[in-house]
Symmetry: C2
């Protein structure tokens, strides 16, 4: 379920955070579905339980999941609009930078088409 890159500069807890966020937003993990326990995920990924706990706590702090001591952790009810807005904000920033670098609007639109022509490449 999770692949961790130990050589990456990105902290492990952040990799876990991103993975679960992606799965939750995309709907792969449906609302209120239970996540693997801190200990089981730690065992599977061969990572320290503290590291997984840190990821879960960060996910809860940002409202992606909710945790119940004694029961487990579950996917929260997500407002996908917020994540869409954030993605669009990043997109705008990238487009502005490309513009500064001398890339034309047409080229950027072609890139958009190129990305959307491809299938579900995740």
């Amino acid at each position: 379920m999770f692949s961790i890159d130990l050589t990456s500069r990105v902290p492990i807890y952040e990799q876990i955070y991103s993975k679960i966020t992606e799965l939750a937003i995309s709907g792969t993990l449906s609302e209120n579905s239970q996540l693997p326990s801190v200990r089981s995920l730690a065992k599977d990924t061969r990572v320290n339980p503290n590291t997984v706990a840190k990821a879960y706590q960060e996910l809860e702090r940002r409202g992606i999941i909710y945790s119940v001591p004694g029961r487990g952790s579950f996917v929260a009810a997500l407002d996908s609009g917020i994540f869409r807005e954030a993605a669009l904000s990043d997109f705008d920033a990238a487009a502005k930078t490309a513009k500064k670098r001398g890339v034309s609007a047409d080229v950027l639109k072609q890139h958009v088409d190129g990305i959307f022509e491809k299938g579900e490449e995740i």
Copy 2:
């Protein structure tokens, strides 16, 4: 000439690196023009000279500037194509994320148009 955010998570040397890169690419700092010395920039920004030196060494390593012991550091002859490619790569990544979040190709193209309609807003 440089403003440093000491509270930022981005390392100081990386902030200096980014600033100078931006100035060099935009042409604000023309080719072969001399940069402030390590010590003077360190004094102006109230940063340790070693930190500035680290930024300059990274800039030289990536071909943005060249340094001559005893003389100073200067803006290199830049191949703008490299930076255009990098900007496009970032743009693609942002577009893919937006796609994952459920944003349509048309909306993204509208955003591109919106950015290019505006004047030189830097």
